[in-house]
Symmetry: C2
Subunit: 410 residues, 2 copies
DNA sequence: AGTGATACGTTGCCAGAGTCAACAAATCAT
DNA sequence: ATGATTTGTTGACTCTGGCAACGTATCACT
């Protein structure tokens, strides 16, 4: 329970304004005045400080059709960026995402085999090194990592990433040492919920559930009472391992009858007669919608019914406003939204399900990059007055081979 | 996204101090200084304001064995109270709970049959009326109601309380009109979690799950990321209706195979050969522990295994620090804690279950009164500067029959 | 075009809250 | 009794947001 003093007050207000323009998009000063309830002069002073720190930019007019003096538009800067990293089985993806929401760059480096943590770091460093000249024009806040597995929130230790074959890999520390930048890492699904919550299907929601179906399982995340649920150690959101059936079918963790064991993309592909390697999310959805095979329909119905058990459980316990489905779960939902709705309704309390919307995820392939960048931005959003040694980090990166990280000043 | 101005700052700091002494018990000024990080002089001023408002009292010294000038002890007032109300099938319980945590009074009014909402209000008013002289010495903040059913958080409308047979009863409005006091109502289980969180087995926890087993079902509540989860409309925490089995056994809401359908107190009593009416929670626990009947053991094992399914699901999704079990679930747990632990471990991700403690609820019969009072105190804790017209309310109460509530000033 | 209305940024002054430093007070240790 | 230590108290200070008057930029109507 921290007390609040004068400095905190300023910080908070700066933070609130920066959050507003970052998450809500550009806004006029007048709008900020109304949204925050602060005085015009105060907004003026706060915006001025943010401009001076290079965090926001003021664009003039904007074709306004209102009477009165036009209000300058305040927008989050394009030049303040976070690096986003997403290691996967067959590729490392690095993104350069601006505070304004723009994804400046997105580089996918395909790997022959699943990379080790050290390889992932090396590849990231080499990609970033190639971008040096471009990056030198930006202020780099830090690196956000979306890991397909369980990550300890405190230090970015990857506890267990089954698909990558990583166990207790100190990815966060390795990356920080190699780049000199602050690194934050989290589970990919929980970053998906962050992205969808601020920029996608969950905008403005305080209670939402997000489930993502990937090739290797089902993950998810949740927002409860406006707070992203991390749990005791950041492992919350593992909807895939919730039990939904009495069958003996086991999932990747060896637990029987779970959502992940019953609802799989592979089973859908098999029913459709498609190959996993050549089927992305959109193709799958189109194929499912186009199919009139009774086998496919039966499989879809079976999976929807199991999905409903998990969703109903979550509805009863969390009484959310919206359930967002991503990946192949979105395709599954698209085939027969009514069936899913009815099944969830049948298995949940009427009052709790009342008003719950089931919606497909809106953000596509940039989802994880945006989520990961958001994670890195969080420190800045929390304290816009924080000094950032971005130039340093970059030079450190260039000299990485020659100088040991420990010898850098600071 | 509200901005913070000077007044808010003061309010926040007052709020933080009041919360600290209310929830953490009495503390010296020096301790408050350390806890909040605020300046000594600031703490002095803030405490002085709280004293002046009658919300806290300063007791002198306290046998301290430290060197230095002794610091006055700041304690929440005994004279600032909330009324707590808990309507049940066979009784109405009214409590007078002080901000200090003391339960001044607890009056149980047995009813022959399940009371209607109007009857509950009438009984409450008459009980409060009898306490008039005692209450006149107190400052009454408001009324908190713990309802065994679904309550809309915004206005205290009881949507559905199956055991009382209430549907859409505007209990909150009725009580407010009859007493002139602010009324807040919530589900009894979610108030249980509040009470346990602040004063019981969940002290200091940011992520906890609470399940309570009552004679008529299983309810619960949860705290996620330090925030009590209410959900979209305050219906969160209905663990009883989560599906745990493929059986056709239906629960009170007509859903098959749920926790509430499989895990019941009646089944335990039947196995033990006991009568519901003459068995309270303690008796049940003792009987279960003493029994060596294989029938009883089998039933306990069966129920524990189903309970484990629900808990494991919650563990996977929420990654809590502690699971608190109340009511007959506490007794069930006491019989074979290891079995439950092992079963939950087997059904949840190792990393997510790692470090989760399963503990019995600590607060006994005052649980709901404390939780309900806490609900009523919340407004005061949020804004200690709020003016309260307590004297008014009391006189209004006495004159209730003669004067219509609308004609009261303010 | 000219004029008024409207909306908004700017400026200088003010009030309130927390900080700071010096001092006083109350205890323990020697 | 003296000093060390911890803490409350007091008044000067700083910083932040509020406020009101003023200036400015647009729209709408004549």
């Amino acid at each position: 329970m921290q007390g609040t003093n004068h400095d905190d007050l300023r910080r908070r207000n700066l933070s609130i304004i920066l959050r507003l323009v970052h998450r809500g998009g550009a806004a006029s000063r007048a709008q900020l005045t109304r949204l925050t309830g602060l005085n015009r002069s105060t907004i003026g002073a706060l915006v001025a400080e943010l401009v001076e720190r290079g965090l926001v930019e003021e664009r003039m007019p904007d074709p306004t059709r209102l009477a009165g003096r036009p209000s300058p538009i305040v927008a989050a800067s394009d030049r303040v960026v976070a690096l986003a990293l997403n290691p996967e089985i067959d590729a490392i993806t690095v993104g350069v995402v601006a505070l304004s929401g723009v994804v400046h760059r997105r580089i996918r480096f395909a790997t022959r085999s699943s990379p080790t943590a050290a390889e992932a770091v090396a590849i990231t460093v080499s990609i970033v090194d190639k971008l040096r000249s471009e990056l030198s024009e930006y202020s780099i806040i830090g690196i956000g990592v979306a890991v397909p597995g369980l990550v300890r929130a405190s230090d970015g230790l990857v506890r267990h990433a089954p698909h990558l074959g990583w166990v207790d890999e100190p990815l966060g520390d390795l990356l920080a040492a190699a780049t000199g930048l602050p690194v934050v890492a989290a589970n990919d699904a929980s970053l998906g919920v962050t992205a969808e919550r601020y920029f996608g299907a969950g905008q403005g929601m305080t209670d939402l559930i997000y489930l993502n179906g990937g090739s290797s399982g089902i993950g998810g995340g949740l927002v409860v009472g406006g707070v992203a649920a991390g749990g005791r150690a950041g492992y919350a959101g593992e909807f895939g391992h919730v039990r939904v059936s009495a069958s003996g079918q086991k999932d990747s963790a060896g637990i029987a009858g779970t959502l992940e064991a019953e609802v799989t993309r592979d089973a859908l592909l098999e029913a459709l007669g498609l190959r996993a390697s050549e089927t992305d999310a959109d193709t799958l959805e189109r194929a499912l919608l186009a199919s009139d095979s009774p086998v496919v329909h039966a499989e879809v119905a079976r999976q929807l019914d199991f999905l409903a058990v998990a969703l109903a459980g979550a509805v009863n316990v969390l009484n959310p406003q919206v359930i967002v489905l991503g990946g192949f779960l979105s395709a599954l939902h698209a085939v027969d939204p009514d069936r899913l709705s009815r099944a969830v309704a049948a298995l949940s309390l009427g009052t709790a399900f009342d008003g719950v919307r089931i919606a497909p995820a809106l953000l596509g392939s940039n989802l994880l990059l945006i989520g990961a960048a958001e994670l890195a931005f969080e420190a800045l959003l929390l304290d816009p007055q924080l000094d950032r040694g971005n130039t340093f980090a970059l030079s450190a990166l260039g000299a990485r081979a020659a100088v040991s990280p420990a010898s850098h000043p600071r």
